[in-house]
């Protein structure tokens, strides 16, 4: 099988002073006083793993363990301090929720705004618009401003827009499988499964072990920036759960 994502010895360091100066005034005062001593903080420490084509890899770890940083590096938003990531960025499609909606605009306007952001063309959106509304179960609400939507409605719409495209070759899901009520969750899981069967390589980030167990063929556990375990999802999830106890 072809390897789709190679993460090779990736480390990410952030400069983090005890209290980061947020203003020039602060920085100036601190430099003058000589108290400005930035420390380097390792968000990721020498991480390596590969994901093969068609695999569904789950990334698990506690809050602040570096999962999101890793995603940002894979999707190309950040460049790691050392190490390399081999992945075709054109194929990557990052799916996160709750971003990119403007509360002052109507549902319909947001579909176009959000769609444009994700990279859909206008003609594509014209064509898929009805399908998106139907999937999100928001018929009759699309001329309402999004600020009047319930949070469930917003995330349903977000999910519907994000997954409206053809199955991307590499799909990265950042905590999206816990959206909406149980019926919608079932529907969205089905849609993701369809994408997986469509041959997509999937990376799922979650701190829920059940999501990982149910969907993944491989699990990667990252803790405090270090790679703890990588392999069979059941085995990895078991050790992860034991740590918590």
């Amino acid at each position: 099988m072809e390897t789709e994502v190679i993460v090779q010895n990736v480390s990410m360091e952030f400069e983090r002073a005890k209290d980061v100066p947020d203003s020039m005034k602060e920085l100036l005062i601190k430099k003058l006083k000589g108290t400005y001593r930035p420390e380097t903080f390792k968000a990721l420490d020498n991480i390596s793993f590969t994901v093969k084509k068609g695999e569904v890899a789950g990334i698990i770890g506690t809050n602040g363990s570096g999962k999101s940083t890793l995603l940002k590096i894979i999707s190309g938003a950040l460049i790691p301090s050392s190490g390399r990531v081999y992945v075709d960025r054109k194929k990557v499609h990052l799916l996160t929720l709750g971003t990119g909606f403007d509360p002052e605009l109507t549902g319909k306007e947001n579909v176009y705004l959000n769609g444009a952001m994700i990279g859909y063309t206008k003609s594509f959106l014209d064509q898929k618009y009805k399908e998106i509304v139907k999937f999100a179960e928001l018929d009759g609400f699309m001329d309402t401003k999004v600020k009047n939507f319930s949070s469930g409605m917003v995330s349903r719409l977000g999910f519907a827009i994000a997954t409206a495209g053809d199955s991307p070759e590499i799909l990265i899901l950042d905590e999206v499988l816990s959206v909406g009520d149980m019926f919608f969750r079932k529907k969205s899981e089905e849609r993701i499964k369809k994408m997986i069967h469509g041959g997509s390589t999937v990376l799922i980030v979650s701190h829920s072990t059940s999501v990982i167990r149910n969907n993944c063929t491989k699990a990667i556990w990252i803790e405090k920036g270090k790679l703890k375990a990588c392999g069979n999802p059941d085995v990895v999830c078991d050790t992860y759960e034991k740590m918590g106890k």
Binding site: D22, S75, G100, A116, T121
Partner: protein
């Protein structure tokens, strides 16, 4: 010219972002988009009422003299102040999107440019009210706007990158803008000043643009060679410098966000 799909997509993104800004601005008002023209028109009327009594002897057509400056100045400050915060405002989106983050800055500047278009309608009404005969040089209006656009874009790149690191740039910049405004001779004749301040004014890119536009509208004169040189130097220079610094710091900006 055939646009590549990528450019077409970027244009679609900018169009969507811009329409969001404009819709938002008057989202809670009854008249909506009409305010885009009404707002500058009303302020222009007020300003003309006040200023038509001032400087009457030294400046011919003083209200138009003032409004020409006001038009460009408003576009410049509007664009730079909104573009400054755009990276921070769209933080969550930036990590998700695939297109270059410059587009966010470009969209804010473009929005200001569209607003300049609306204000221009109000300006045209004022020109008619004061019975200004249109000179052939008036057709150079878009040329000046284009250079203003370049200059503004460059400054916006710089401010937007700086704002990510230092929030107080916002306050510093607003103070600096006041100073800059007084150095742009928007509501007084620059000829009255002498000495170092005059040198500052004459080399102020915004003033050069305003001055040349005034000449084109009111006296039918084109900029001199030195004025053209100044315009091109400042505007292209600002654009290139802003772009360079922005590109160079791209990665640190993303880390900081």
């Amino acid at each position: 010219m055939q646009l590549s799909p990528k450019t077409k997509q970027y244009a679609f993104v900018i169009q969507q972002l811009t329409s969001r800004e404009i819709k938002r601005k008057y989202a809670r008002s009854y008249l909506g988009i009409v305010w885009s023209v009404l707002n500058p028109l009303l302020s222009m009327v007020v300003l003309s009422l006040i200023f038509s009594q001032l400087f009457r002897r030294s400046i011919e057509n003083y209200p138009i003299y003032y409004l020409t400056g006001y038009l460009l100045w408003q576009a410049f400050t509007g664009a730079t102040t909104t573009a400054m915060t755009t990276l921070a405002d769209n933080k969550a989106l930036l990590l998700k999107v695939k297109f270059p983050m410059e587009l966010f800055i470009l969209a804010r500047v473009y929005t200001a440019l569209l607003n300049l278009g609306y204000s221009f309608l109000a300006y045209a009404i004022m020109l008619a009210v004061f019975r200004i005969t249109l000179r052939p040089t008036f057709i150079f209006f878009p040329v000046f706007v284009f250079f203003l656009f370049l200059f503004t874009l460059g400054i916006s790149y710089l401010l937007a990158s700086a704002y990510v690191f230092f929030g107080d740039i916002k306050h510093l910049y607003s103070v600096f803008l006041t100073l800059w405004m007084y150095c742009s001779a928007i509501f007084y004749p620059a000829e009255q000043l002498t000495g170092p301040i005059r040198i500052v004014i004459d080399n102020n890119p915004i003033y050069i643009l305003i001055h040349c536009l005034r000449k084109a509208v009111l006296s039918g004169l084109l900029p001199t060679f030195f004025e053209w040189a100044g315009i091109v130097f400042w505007c292209v220079g600002s654009y290139l410098l802003g772009r360079y610094i922005f590109k160079k710091n791209r990665n640190t900006i993303m880390q900081k966000l």
